[in-house]
């Protein structure tokens, strides 16, 4: 399904933090004007599309979760979450190839600063689209008096990137035009895939967060 690119509104602070600025340091005039320029114009470079589906959780044994059609997810963290859920939403989304092609073009012409800023804008746009889809799934779940968990992607916690294939299998061939490379990376690169647990209000799944007890204190995805 296509999304409207004007609905994907990234914020400046998020982009600045992507390219390394903390809260306490105001970027230089040059960087400010570059970021502002790109933020004003990036909508023409993105073509957001997404796909999602709902699946029953057939069984959970240890770190293995069966979601039908011989699709087995493997992760202790995800298994602990899904033990409290009734169904899961599986999703994939992308902002398309165009922005990425532009990043490559800039880098090939030694415009690495511009390439880095535009790449950060692409990451920011993909994240915003992911939040947009997350909200959509939440609204559907809430309408059925169910709650949703945070979203989890292969590569988070103990859920290996190689499990990307299971997520794509679960989407029954409709993965928003994204395909997996031999090394199971998504193409276009600015894409997000993952799952959201859906369950009854009394199971408190919306607050399920494995981060506080995790030993990886430096993890960039720590929430």
């Amino acid at each position: 399904m296509l999304a409207v690119s004007s609905q994907i509104n990234i914020d400046r602070q998020q982009i600045l933090s992507h390219i390394g600025y903390g809260d306490e340091y105001e970027p230089s005039a040059r960087i400010t004007s570059l970021v502002n320029d790109y933020i004003e114009n990036y909508h023409d470079l993105i073509a957001p599309s997404y796909s999602y589906t709902f699946r029953d959780i057939e069984w959970i044994k240890g770190n293995r979760i069966s979601i039908g059609d011989s699709i087995i997810l493997r992760s202790k963290v995800i298994a602990r979450l899904l033990e409290r859920c009734e169904i899961i939403a599986v999703f994939a989304l992308t902002i398309g190839n165009h922005l990425e092609d532009m990043v490559t073009h800039l880098a090939e012409n030694s415009l690495v600063l511009q390439a880095t800023v535009l790449d950060a804008i692409g990451s920011g746009a993909a994240e915003k689209l992911a939040s947009h889809i997350e909200d959509k799934i939440k609204r559907i779940a809430n309408a059925g008096e169910l709650m949703t968990s945070r979203r989890f992607s292969p590569g988070y916690c103990d859920w290996e990137v190689s499990q990307q294939k299971m997520v794509f299998d679960a989407l029954n061939g409709d993965a928003a035009g994204i395909h997996l490379t031999e090394s199971l990376l998504m193409m276009p690169r600015k894409s997000v895939s993952g799952i959201i647990g859906i369950g009854l209000p009394n199971k408190d799944i919306e607050n399920y967060n494995p981060c506080p007890t995790c030993k990886k204190k430096e993890c960039p995805g720590r929430r």
Binding site: S28, A29, S110, T116, S183, L185
Partner: protein, 232 residues
């Protein structure tokens, strides 16, 4: 005065300005000559290209490196400076060839097979160019055999390998093995970098060096070039 223009070139690197249309680190710099205008002017005035590099570009990048280390500069500030140096080098290259000045060395750089991440590699490329090396960037997701082929053809002094994933960093080791099998390993110094790798990993796969960030990668190449370090 040549010193004045070299001062301005140094300042242009620090400000990260390529042309007169660019803003700088400080505000309201649009309209003042940027790097490309200053280099052209310096060459017309007869300033020696080697002096421009040593006293202008290299000296300025040292200041930028220190500011980056002290966290006064962030990655984009550093990139803006490196970009200004890259533009200067492009204009200076024909002049250097004419006057018989040899580049410091040639480097082939690539993100290994299966890995599509290239921002880190691009940063290292531009910093190496700024430091006076000829860089041939093969791109990302590069087959091991193509890296070997490029080393055979281009005969670089250095090879830089990058990976962002634990699943693809193993291809760095494969590349080193393939170079050994082709009899090319001793002809090139190999430096690796990327989030999942470390100095220990570099050592374990038989690389010559490891750079934790762009400036470190340049420092390791410089040290290997002068024969002062390397873990091999």
């Amino acid at each position: 005065m040549p010193e004045d223009i070299i001062d301005l070139i140094r300042e242009s690197v620090i400000q990260g300005r390529v042309t007169k249309d660019d803003e700088g680190l400080d505000e309201d710099m649009v309209g003042q000559p940027g790097m490309s205008e200053l280099i052209e002017e310096a060459l017309i005035s007869g300033v020696d290209a080697q002096d421009i590099i040593n006293q202008g570009l290299t000296a300025a990048m040292k200041i930028v490196g220190k500011r980056f280390e002290a966290e006064e500069y962030y990655i984009p500030d550093m990139l803006a400076s490196a970009e200004a140096v890259g533009v200067a080098m492009e204009i200076l290259e024909p002049e250097l060839t004419r006057s018989g000045v040899k580049p410091k060395g040639k480097i082939i750089i690539a993100t290994v097979k299966g890995d599509l991440h290239d921002i880190g590699k691009n940063i290292v490329s531009i910093l190496l160019r700024g430091a006076g090396y000829i860089v041939k960037d093969l791109g990302n997701d590069i087959e091991t055999k193509d890296i070997v082929k490029a080393v055979k053809k281009e005969k670089p002094e250095f090879l830089g390998l990058s990976a962002l994933l634990t699943s693809t960093m193993v291809n760095m080791e494969d590349t080193i093995k393939a170079l050994t099998e082709s009899g090319l390993r001793d002809k090139v110094k190999i430096v690796i970098g990327g989030a999942p790798v470390s100095e220990e990993y570099a050592e374990s796969i038989g690389a010559d060096g490891y750079g934790a960030d762009g400036f470190q990668a340049v420092a390791v190449v410089e040290a290997l070039n002068s024969g002062t370090t390397g873990n091999k």
